[in-house]
Symmetry: C2
C-alpha cells in the first residue's frame, strides 16, 4: 500500500519511520522547508530507543500526485482544512483517511473532503519529539485506538489497524472510539491550557488547591457537553485518568505551553476548550470555564502578536 | 486633631505629607523596617510635583499609644484585620476611621473593630509611587469621595472631608459612595486581574477582541451582584468608565501586575473578583468569570510560592 503522512512533525516522523519498515511505501508530506531539505539531503535521522538514518521521500502536500491507499493526518489542528485542500490530488475513491489529531470536531472538517466510508478516527498515546530539521527523537512505547466512522465499512478500519500493527504501532480496533478521543481532549483541555496560561508544569498546577478546583470544573464541562452529544463519558473515570496522567507527567510542560510560552506559536485551544464551548452553545449548555480559558489564551496570542 | 496613617505606603505617604501641612498632627504607621528607619533618620523625601524632605513621626502599629481623632486606613486589603488588631490601643470612643482601600467588603471587617457611627468609607483616584524606603514620588491631581456609614452621624464624614480639603485632597461628601467604590473595584477587577494573568499592559488587553469580551462579562457579573446587594449600578455607565480608564492608562501595567508578576507578592484578588464571587454565592448569582479568575490568580500565587 502507498501511505502518505500528511503533516510530518515529530509524530508523523514516528509513524512514517515505523511504517517504512513494513512491506508498504511511505511518503512524508510537510511544508517546513528546512525539514524537507534536511530529509532530502541526509535522510530522516532517528535517535532515542533506536539510532538510525533512513531514506524516505518527502515533499510539499501540493506536490503529491500519486493516489494514496492510506493518508494519516498528523497536522496541527488548525492546519487540517488547508492540508485536506492541498492533497486533493491524491485522494481517490478508495483512499482511506486516518485522523490522529488531538482535539475535538475534526470529523466534521474531514467530512467536507472525504466520503464517510473512508474516514477512520483514532487517538494515540504514542509520543515523539523533533530535535531539529530532519531529526526525530523517539522514546517509549505507545498504543492507539481507531474506528471506522461508517459502521457499514468497519473493514476499512480493521485493515488500517492491521497495517499499523505490522509497524508495531499497537493499534486496536475500537467499537466506540469517541469516548477515548474525548478523554484525551479532556486531559489536554485541563493541563495543556492551564499550564500554558499559568506558565507552570503539570505538577505545579495539580499541587495547587485552586488549580484542582479549575481542573474539576473543566472536566465537568467536557463531560456534560460530550454526554449531550451522545458520547459515553464517565466523569469519575475521566477524573481518575486525568489525575493519573498528572502524576506521570508532573515534571513536564505540556505541548500548548511549548507552543504559546516557549515558541509563541498559535495554540490548538479552539479544538479543545473552544470546541467544547461551541458544542455546548449548540446543546444549550453553558460552559463558562471553557469559554473564558479560550478567550484568555486567544488574548495572550494577541498580546504576543501571534497570527 | 491627631491623625494616624495606618499603612504608610505610597498613598499613605501622600496623605500623611499633605495633612502634615495643615494645623493637624500626623503619625505614620507601618511595618516595613527599612522604610521606618529611613524616615526616622532622614525624614520623608517627596519628589515629583514638589521636592521636599519633611520630618514626620513614624512607628510600628503596635507601638502607637496616643488616642487618635482620625485613622486613615491605607493597608493592603489582606493586611486590614491585622492592622485593626494592632492599633486597638489608639481607638477611642470618638476615633473616626476612614477606609480608602481598594476593593469590596472592607466595611464588614472594620465593623468588627469600630462602632458603625465612626466608620467612614471612601474611594480615591489620587495616585502615588514609592521610589524606595522613605521616598514617595507624587505626581498629578486627584480627588476622593467619602460617606459616613451611619446615616445618623453624617457630621463625622463632613468633618473629615473638611480636614482633607485643608490638605488640598479634594474631598467630596458623597450621599451614596458605594456605587463609586464598586465602580473603582470593577476597573480593578477587569484590568488588574487580567493584565496580571496575561502579563500585559492595559492597552494590550483592550486591543484584543477576546480581551474585550472578557472585560464585558466581568463587568456584567460585578453589576449583577452589586445590584442584588442594593448598590445602584448602571452597567452602561460603568462600561464607559472602564473603557475611558483603559485609554488613559493604556501604557501602564496595573498594580496587581506589579504585585504578582514583578514582585511576586500576594494579590488583592479576594477583595475584587473573589469578593464578587462570594457575594454572588450568597445572592444566588453565578459568577463563573470572577470565580475562575480568582482561582487562576491563586494558582499562580501557589506556583510562585507566594504566601
Amino acid at each position: 500500500m502507498l501511505v502518505y503522512i500528511a503533516g510530518s512533525g515529530a509524530m508523523g516522523c514516528r509513524f512514517g519511520y515505523q511504517i517504512s519498515k513494513t512491506n508498504n511505501d511511505v511518503i512524508l508530506l510537510d511544508n517546513w522547508e528546512n525539514h524537507i531539505n534536511a530529509i532530502k539531503e541526509n535522510g530522516l535521522t532517528i535517535t532515542g530507543d533506536v539510532e538510525e538514518t533512513v531514506k524516505l521521500p518527502i515533499m510539499k502536500p501540493t506536490q503529491a500526485s500519486q493516489e494514496a491507499d492510506l493518508i494519516i493526518l498528523f497536522t496541527k489542528a488548525m492546519q487540517l482544512p488547508q492540508m485536506l485542500q492541498d492533497i486533493k490530488a491524491i485522494i481517490g475513491k478508495e483512499t482511506k483517511v486516518l485522523c490522529l489529531l488531538n482535539g475535538l470536531g475534526h470529523e466534521d472538517v474531514i467530512r467536507q473532503y472525504i466520503p464517510e466510508h473512508n474516514i477512520i478516527m483514532g487517538v494515540t498515546v504514542w509520543t515523539a519529539g523533533l530535535k531539529g530539521p530532519g531529526h526525530a527523537h523517539l522514546q517509549g512505547v505507545g498504543a492507539l485506538n481507531l474506528q471506522s466512522m461508517d459502521k457499514d465499512n468497519q473493514e476499512a478500519g480493521h485493515q488500517v489497524a492491521e497495517l499499523l500493527n505490522q509497524a508495531n504501532l499497537n493499534a486496536t480496533y475500537d467499537d466506540n472510539v469517541l469516548p477515548n478521543i474525548w478523554r484525551k481532549a479532556c486531559v489536554n483541555g485541563t493541563m495543556n491550557s492551564l499550564c500554558a496560561l499559568l506558565d507552570c508544569t503539570i505538577g505545579e498546577l495539580f499541587a495547587s488547591e485552586d488549580g484542582l478546583k479549575m481542573v474539576h470544573e473543566i472536566i465537568h464541562e467536557f463531560v456534560s457537553v460530550g454526554q449531550a452529544e451522545g458520547v459515553e463519558l464517565n466523569e469519575e473515570e475521566i477524573t481518575s485518568y486525568v489525575m493519573d496522567t498528572s502524576v506521570k507527567a508532573a515534571h513536564h510542560y505540556p505541548s500548548m505551553h511549548q507552543d504559546l510560552v516557549q515558541n509563541h506559536r498559535k495554540t490548538e485551544i479552539d479544538f479543545l476548550n473552544g470546541a467544547v464551548n461551541n458544542k455546548g452553545q449548540k446543546q444549550g449548555i453553558n460552559t463558562p470555564y471553557c469559554r473564558l480559558i479560550t478567550q484568555l489564551i486567544h488574548t495572550k496570542e494577541d498580546v504576543l502578536k501571534i497570527k
